[in-house]
C-alpha cells in the first residue's frame, strides 16, 4: 500500500514576464494584465510537484494534482500528468474567481475532503501573482492537519515526515506525522516530459468539480476587494559611464563613485 500525495497547483500568468505590460485602468481602477504573457503552473507549485515526484521515484506513491480557478487550461496544468502525476482535478466554477485567501483555501480543502484519504498535501510556498503565502496554512486549517511552511526537503519514514525548513541563517529539521501539509520552497525544478508522455497525458481525463459538486454555496465565498491598486514608481535617472572600452568603463565607474562621494 502506497501513499497518496495531493499537490495543489495554481494557474497564473508567467511571473517572469516583463513589468512593462502591467498597469491600472484609471477609469475602472482595475488591473491591466499584460497581453501575450502565457499562463503557467505557479513555479513554486512546480517545485511542490517535483518534490512529490521524487518521493514517487523511490517509493509507492499516487499523486493527485488539484487546481482551483475559473478558466483552467488542460494544456497548462495537464503538464503535471505528463511528468508523472496520476490524477488531475479541476475545481472550476464561475464563482471561483478573484476570491480571497480564506475562500480559496475553503474550496481547495473541500476538494481534498471529497477525495477522502490522503497522506500528504503539498503546495508551493506562495503564488507568483497574489504573493500572499496564506492559502497553504488555511487549507491545513480547514483540514485540521499540521502545516509546515518553507520546506526545501522531504523524507518519509514510515508514517513520519521529516523535513528541512529554510531559515534566514540556515535551516531546521522538523518532524510531523501524516497526514500533514507542507508548503514548498525549492526542492528542484520540475522535470521535463518527453513527447510520448505528453501524448499519453493528453488522453488522460481531467475530473472537474463545480461548486455544486463540492457542496459549496457561492454566497459563502468572499472576493478580494482592493481599495486601490497602483503601479509603484522606483525609477531613477541612470548615470551611464561612457568609455572607449569596457575596461576603461570599469575604472571610470570607480572614479565617478569617488567624485560623487559614494565611496
Amino acid at each position: 500500500m502506497g501513499f497518496h500525495i495531493i499537490v495543489c497547483a495554481k494557474q497564473i500568468l508567467d511571473p517572469e514576464g516583463p513589468a512593462s505590460g502591467y498597469g491600472v485602468n484609471s477609469a475602472t481602477g482595475q488591473i491591466i494584465l499584460p497581453k501575450g504573457v502565457p499562463p503557467v503552473i505557479n513555479p513554486y507549485d512546480e517545485n511542490a510537484l517535483e518534490t512529490a515526484l521524487r518521493l514517487k521515484d523511490i517509493m509507492q506513491v499516487n499523486i493527485t494534482v488539484i487546481s482551483m480557478g475559473k478558466n483552467l487550461s488542460k494544456a497548462v496544468i495537464g503538464k503535471a500528468l505528463a511528468v508523472g502525476a496520476d490524477n488531475l482535478i479541476f475545481l472550476q466554477d464561475k464563482a471561483f474567481e478573484n476570491l480571497d485567501s480564506r475562500s480559496t483555501a475553503y474550496i481547495i480543502s473541500a476538494g481534498i475532503k471529497k477525495l477522502g484519504n490522503y497522506d500528504l498535501v503539498l503546495a508551493g510556498r506562495q503564488a507568483g501573482d497574489t504573493d500572499a503565502a496564506i492559502v497553504p496554512h488555511f487549507i491545513a486549517g480547514f483540514l485540521d492537519i499540521p502545516c509546515i511552511n518553507l520546506v526545501k526537503k522531504v523524507e518519509i519514514i514510515e508514517r513520519n515526515i521529516r523535513v528541512e525548513r529554510s531559515l534566514p541563517d540556515g535551516y531546521e529539521v522538523l518532524e510531523v506525522e501524516m497526514p500533514s501539509l507542507l508548503s514548498i520552497t525549492g526542492g528542484g525544478d520540475l522535470r521535463k516530459a518527453d513527447l510520448q508522455q505528453i501524448t499519453d497525458a493528453g488522453k488522460k481525463p481531467v475530473t472537474i468539480w463545480t461548486a455544486e459538486n463540492l457542496g459549496i454555496d457561492a454566497s459563502d465565498l468572499k472576493q478580494t476587494v482592493w481599495q486601490k491598486i497602483f503601479v509603484p514608481v522606483h525609477e531613477v535617472e541612470c548615470n551611464f559611464i561612457k568609455a572607449d572600452s569596457p575596461k576603461e568603463a570599469g575604472a571610470k565607474l570607480a572614479i565617478k563613485l569617488r567624485e560623487d562621494r559614494i565611496i
Partner: protein, 331 residues
Amino acid sequence: MGAFSGITVFDGAFEDILAPGTKELLACARKLADNLDEKVNCILFGEGLNESLKEAVAFGADNVLTADTPILGKYNPDAYSIALERLVRQTASRCLILGQTSIGADIAPRVAFKLGCDLITDCVEINFNKETESFIPVHPIYGGKIYAAFNFTNQQLVITLRQKSIDPLDRDDSRKGNIIPVKVDIEPALIKIKVVKKIKEEITGVRLENAPVVVTGGRGIGSKDDFKYLKELAEILSGAVGGSRPAADNGWVPATSKVGLTGKIVAPKMYIAIGVSGSSQHLAGCIGSKNIIAINNDPSANIFKVARYGVVGDWKEVLPSFTEKLRELLV
C-alpha cells in the same frame, strides 16, 4: 471600534535580543496607535528575557507581555501560535502586526485562521485613515509590479510587515511602559510538530542583512567559481556577497544569500548588481538601497531603470578594472 483596542506586535526575542525587525514593528504600531489614541502592546517569546523587554519599551511599547516559559524558549509553530492566539484574545487587540520573517510569515496565518479574522501579508506600508478609522495596508502583488491597498474598518486584523519598510524610532530610555509577565499553559498533546535540530550556516565576514555594501551576482555570472571576483570586490568595500534566485538555486551562493521577495531584504548604502536583470521579485529585496549600481551587457535590462550608476558591458571585462581602481582609490 467596540470591543477591540490597541495595536499588538509580536516577535521572538532569542538570546534576549530585540531584533532590528521588532523595532520596525514597534515604530509602525506606535504611529497607528497614536492616531487612535490607543496603546501599543508588544508580545515577546523567548527564555530568560530581561533586557529585550526594557528595550521594547524604549523603542515604543506601552505594555510588554512576556511568557517566559521553557516551551516558548525556542520557536515551535504549534506552541507559538497557540500562545499568541490566547494573548491576542486576552488583549482584544484590534490589529496584530508581525514581521514578514520565517517566524512571522508562519505564525500570522495560523493565528488569523484561529481568530477567524482577515490577514494581509508582506505589507510595505500600513496607513490609517483617521476619518473612517480604517487601516490601509499596502501589499505588493505580481512580484511587486503592482501594489494593492486594502481597507479594513471595524474589524480585527492581522498584518505582516516586510522587513526594512520603516525606520525604527530612536531609542528613548525615558519612555515609560509596563512589563507584564503572563502565564501560558500549553497541553503537550497540542504540539504536533517536533523541532529536531537547527543547522546554522557558517558565515564569514559581514552579515548580508546588515552590510553597508552588497555585491550581488545574477545568472549572468555563469558559475560558482566566478563569484570569487565578486567576493574580492565585496572584501575591498567591507561588504557582503548576495545572489539572485538563479545564483542561489544553482548553488553559486548559499540559499541564505538570496536577495529578493523570497530571500533577504537588504538596504545598504551601495548595492552593486552584476549580471542581474532586475526582475520585480529581485528588486523587492534591494529597492530600499541608497545607491544601486549595475553592470550588465544588455542596455535594456530593467536593473538600469532603478540604478543610479550603470555600465553596459560584459562584467568579465568591466569588473577587474573597477576592482583594481577601487583598491587604488581606497588605500
